[in-house]
């Protein structure tokens, strides 16, 4: 015990950050913690705390630049409550959420272009109300459509440190699957036009005519 304390006893700043985040009712940015503690630089303390809690039943995590403590994911089966706080999302809402997250900022028309159906207004409202999607301004094109993006609450809910953590986003981007159909079409046609013999990349969305070549 005394040995451990000597090694591991946290200093005052670490203790203060730990207490602040334990007491906080919502995730806090490093800046907010610093302001709350009178301007101290808390980054090192945060890193130290995150390391300390690694492997414990409680973890310190960063989600969209905000920090909070949460229970360890592997203990989920012990902690699930009868009354689930999690919203049940319709399939439409789930798809819209994924499209917003992977494409943000994105207009409703762009969401509809990907889904091939009109999106009921209520679907976006559910996501706005959940606090996972926000209005991120307007696109400066004719009609100035409203564009949507995800929120820090979205990242916190799905356990993402940032949008870079979205599952498979790098692969999707590399495969061009986050580009508009028009761009992909143009690229694919150009490729086919340039040389049918050239080996078609796996990411090109090869047209039917060149199925064999790309295979």
């Amino acid at each position: 015990m005394t040995l451990r304390q000597a090694q591991d006893e946290p200093d005052d700043l670490v203790r203060a950050v730990e207490a602040t985040l334990f007491a906080a009712e919502a995730p806090m940015t490093a800046e907010a913690i610093s302001t709350h503690l009178g301007g101290a630089d808390v980054r090192e303390a945060l890193a130290g705390l995150a390391a300390h809690y690694t492997g414990r039943g409680v973890q310190l995590v960063e989600r969209g630049k905000r920090w909070h403590f949460q229970t360890a994911p592997d203990l989920a089966h012990l902690l699930r409550r009868e009354r689930e706080d999690v919203r049940r999302l319709s399939r439409a809402a789930t798809e819209v959420l994924a499209i917003v997250a992977y494409h943000e900022p994105v207009s409703r028309a762009e969401v509809e272009a990907i889904r091939g159906v009109q999106t009921a207004k209520g679907t976006l409202d559910v996501l706005l109300e959940a606090g996972w999607v926000r209005v991120a301004g307007r696109r400066e094109v004719p009609g100035r459509p409203v564009i949507y993006a995800t929120t820090p609450e979205f990242l916190a809910h799905f356990g993402l440190a940032s949008r870079k953590d979205l599952p498979g986003i790098d692969e999707l981007r590399a495969a061009g699957l986050l580009d508009p159909v028009e761009d992909a079409l143009e690229a694919a046609l150009a490729e086919v036009g340039a040389a049918n013999e050239t080996e078609v990349g796996a990411d090109s969305g090869a047209p039917l005519a060149s199925e064999e070549e790309s295979a």
Binding site: A76, I114, R115, F158, G205
Partner: protein, 266 residues
């Protein structure tokens, strides 16, 4: 269907996709699900996945046949189909016939281009549906991981620092005083000759003088102008009153000429 239950069935890997396919043996079961599709593209995507190949390698011709086949059988079973399913069926029929035409007879855009576009759209929708499934399968806050149940909370006590200065204080008091002083209208004394004094003065002077006198001569000679005007008015009224009582007579030879006054002899 909850997102939890549906995730493995609807959003499984392309290779082991079997959620809807297993129902395909029973046509009725499939058609009854038509309401559940999020539009024709959604149905097409599920049909495409049943080819059990990479979405980049699906056979569009086979897909078209499958789609049109289902739509036709649904119509045969007198299931009401939304218009957009029928529009898609018609478009796919056109696409199929174009794809079968020799390449040189095709219009622009070519059928291959249209097919490619459809394929690209299916890929994108498929990618997003898989992404949604992977998102929902993550450790979610409030379902799998939990924040502190009873946080103490961080309180920010706001304290007002009130500001006021000496001048504002004194001025405010002055304004209160000024606003609440009772309003009294005082009319300052003016030098006037009352009708009573004019009557007394005119009758007395008439008794002394026997000849005609101009009314101006009845006024106090050294009074200031405001008193003289008051005296003139009062004296005129007094003259009229004396005339009415038969004690004086008035004469004016021209309009606006001098007003003459004398005692009535009895």
């Amino acid at each position: 269907m909850t997102e939890v239950d549906s995730a493995p069935a609807l959003f499984g890997e392309a290779d082991d996709w079997d959620g809807i396919a297993s129902a395909a043996t029973d046509d009725t079961a499939l058609y009854l699900e038509l309401d559940g599709w999020e539009g024709p593209l959604d149905l097409l995507l599920d049909l495409a996945r049943r080819q059990k190949v990479d979405l980049r390698k699906i056979s569009i011709l086979e897909l078209v046949d499958q789609y049109i086949g289902y739509i036709e059988r649904a119509e045969a079973m007198r299931l009401e189909l939304a218009a957009d399913y029928l529009v898609m069926a018609a478009w796919l029929a056109y696409l199929k016939s174009s794809l079968l035409l020799p390449r040189e007879e095709q219009e622009d855009p070519s059928a291959e281009e249209l097919a490619l576009r459809l394929q690209l759209r299916l890929q994108r929708l498929g990618a997003m549906r898989e992404a949604a499934a992977r998102l929902l399968a993550r450790d979610r806050l409030g379902r799998d991981v939990f924040v502190r149940g009873a946080p103490e909370g961080l309180r920010i006590d706001r304290k007002n620092l009130w500001q006021c200065d000496w001048f504002a204080l004194v001025q405010a008091y002055g304004q209160v005083k000024a606003r609440t002083v009772p309003v009294v209208h005082m009319v300052r004394d003016r030098m006037v000759m009352t009708l009573e004094s004019a009557l007394a003065r005119v009758s007395a002077m008439l008794g002394v003088k026997l000849d005609w006198m101009e009314i101006q001569d009845f006024l106090p000679p050294h009074a200031d102008s405001r008193l003289r005007r008051s005296a003139l008015a009062s004296s005129f009224v007094a003259a009229l009153e004396l005339a009415r009582l038969g004690k004086a007579e008035l004469a004016q030879e021209v309009v606006f000429g001098p007003l003459m006054l004398r005692q009535v002899r009895t």
